[in-house]
């Protein structure tokens, strides 16, 4: 099972099973729906933003372990971050899951567990759906699609 553990690390299994922030924050003021037309995964991200800072963020929806864990760890990480910090992290995260960059725990923290996704090109969209959706919400768009 070792080869699969590269992808399905404990953190991913845990967050996939028991997603954190799996509820919408009170007094959210921006939101977007994310949709992966390839597999039908759907989620909604809502956030409370003040000025440039995401004070609170949560999500609801259905998806595979990878997309659920990605949404869960993203919402954990994003609280208290500014928009530009989120943009930067998404860019880094995207480079890692697409295999353009190695996962470095110093840079990524817990998000480094998604490094294994790079070996599974068909699953990149699972890992990035929540991020696309958060970006769309912050940009004032209503919808994000991985297509």
């Amino acid at each position: 099972m070792d080869d699969l553990r590269e992808l399905y690390q404990e953190v991913i299994l845990d967050h996939g099973k028991n997603p954190r922030n799996f509820a919408f924050p009170d007094a959210s003021n921006c939101e977007a729906d994310g949709y992966n037309p390839l597999c039908g995964d759907q989620l909604t991200v809502k956030a409370r933003v003040e000025g440039d800072v995401v004070l609170d963020v949560g999500f609801q929806g259905q998806g595979c372990a990878i997309s659920t864990a990605a949404a869960s760890t993203m919402t954990e990480w994003a609280k208290g971050k500014t928009r530009s910090q989120i943009d930067e992290m998404f860019e880094l995260f995207h480079s890692v899951v697409t295999g353009k960059k190695d996962a470095d725990e110093d840079e990524l923290g817990k998000l480094a567990v998604f490094g294994g996704v790079a070996e599974y090109p068909m699953r990149v969209k699972c890992a990035t759906l929540a991020w696309h959706t958060l970006e769309a919400a912050l940009a004032g768009k209503k919808e994000a699609s991985t297509e």
Partner: protein, 426 residues
């Protein structure tokens, strides 16, 4: 390849009065070069034939031979290579016509596949014959390719798309279907076999009901042809569309059979070379069947490969295919039912080897990835049947589907890998 011999299965108690026709599955497997490979270090258990069937060597050889030796364009070529290619193309059409049970050859049109065939009927027949208030009746289990073309033509003509219900076991609700038929129903279009559930639809009965209302009966045969074969006359339908790649043939080729009296009255919907009789800037007259619906240079190698595929299946015989599959469906249904937390979707009494299911705690996409790592190829997703997914209240299913080369070992490997996935997500 077909042989009669007593049952040698371990559950060989199924005594039958007629001699049992059995597939020599090991021999068949040796005809499919793709089955010889290992995937991530494991034996390949290819359980995705409903998406695309693998190809036997004879199909590959036929395609290679066309490109290697003939390679020229067909029709109107007076040179030797073109003549040879034309002869091979038209021989393939004859084989396909025979395979489909057609009494005549000219009403078999080569298409890009089932989707293309349905689009042809929707555009060339539907658009010309539907008007505002008319109805097109399909079922709730249709593939998107038998939904969207009708939606488009309904939008253009003002006709209405009507949906016949499907039962909880995934069967067409025939009474419900009958209730949806009306004097405004002009076209009925349903699948022969559901790609997601494996359900076999009672086509002959549906055709009778449709015809009693004066409607034209169209069939999406993408899944029916490979599992059941086709006999358009026995089915009593008006159009039957099928795909090469689901029939152990090449991609990008398919065939559409049409009832001649209807087909020959239809105006072409794509213009171009090959489909004309005469062209001037003032007026063009069209060729007859089948050329009028084959604008442009056809997929010659594909058609020849499809001819080789139907030869291959004809040699095996659908009695043998059906007997082999029936046994595996029984085995697979039982094996999957024994897995705790597995919910089958699609439990029709009459079904082919398509197993859709959900697993408690394991999302179909995660399952698909884990199975792949164990050499098991299945499909996860909505299978291009989103309305059907909604009907069953699920976003996606895992689907394992059988072909003529499938064995109990494939199913055992599937079950083992499912258990492993469950362990990981427990």
């Amino acid at each position: 390849m077909t042989q009669s011999r007593p049952s040698t299965t371990s559950e060989g108690a199924t005594a039958s009065s007629s001699p049992r026709v059995e597939l020599d599955v090991e021999r068949i497997r040796s005809d499919f070069p793709a089955l010889g490979q290992r995937v991530h270090g494991h034996r390949l258990a290819y359980l995705d034939s409903a998406a695309s069937a693998l190809k036997p060597q004879s199909v590959i050889d036929a395609v290679v031979k066309n490109y290697s030796e003939d390679g020229a364009n067909v029709h109107r070529g007076v040179h030797w290579l073109s003549q040879r290619a034309t002869t091979a193309l038209e021989a393939a059409r004859e084989k396909v016509a025979k395979f489909m049970g057609s009494a005549t050859v000219e009403n078999v049109v080569f298409t890009r596949g089932t989707t293309d065939g349905i689009n042809l009927v929707a555009n060339a027949y539907g658009a010309a014959n539907l008007s505002a208030g008319d109805e097109v009746l399909i079922s709730h289990l249709e593939h998107h390719s038998n939904i969207v073309p009708w939606q488009q033509v309904c939008e253009r003509t003002g006709a209405r798309l009507v949906i016949a219900p499907v039962t909880d076991s995934g069967e067409l609700d025939v009474d419900g279907f009958e209730r949806k038929l009306s004097e405004r129903t002009k076209i009925v279009s349903v699948a022969h076999v559901s790609n997601t559930l494996g359900t076999i639809l009672p086509l002959a009965r549906i055709a009778d009901l449709a015809h009693a209302r004066g409607a034209v009966m169209v069939v999406d045969g993408a899944q029916g042809a490979p599992h059941l074969g086709v006999d358009v006359q026995a089915l009593g339908v008006d159009f039957y569309a099928m795909s090469g790649h689901k029939l152990y043939g090449p991609n990008g080729i398919g065939a559409l059979w049409g009832e001649k009296s209807i087909f020959e009255k239809m105006a072409p919907y794509q213009g171009g070379g090959g489909m004309i009789r005469t062209v001037s800037f003032e007026k063009t007259t069209y060729a007859g069947l089948p050329e009028r619906f084959e604008a442009g240079t056809p997929n010659i190698a594909g058609a020849i490969g499809l001819g080789a595929a139907v030869d291959y299946l004809t040699n095996i015989g659908f009695a043998a295919v059906a007997a082999h599959e029936k046994e595996l469906v029984r085995y697979g249904t039982k094996a999957l039912a024994a897995i705790p937390g597995l919910r089958p979707i699609g439990t029709a009494k009459e079904k082919v080897g398509v197993f859709s299911f959900l697993l408690e705690n394991v999302h179909p996409h995660d399952l698909g990835t884990i199975l792949d790592k164990r050499g098991v190829a299945i499909r996860a997703g909505h299978h291009c049947t989103q309305p059907l997914m909604k009907r069953f209240g699920v976003p996606a299913t895992a689907r394992a589907s059988l072909g003529i080369y499938s064995t109990r070992s494939d199913i055992d490997q599937l079950v083992g890998a499912i258990r492993e996935a469950q362990e990981m997500f427990s």
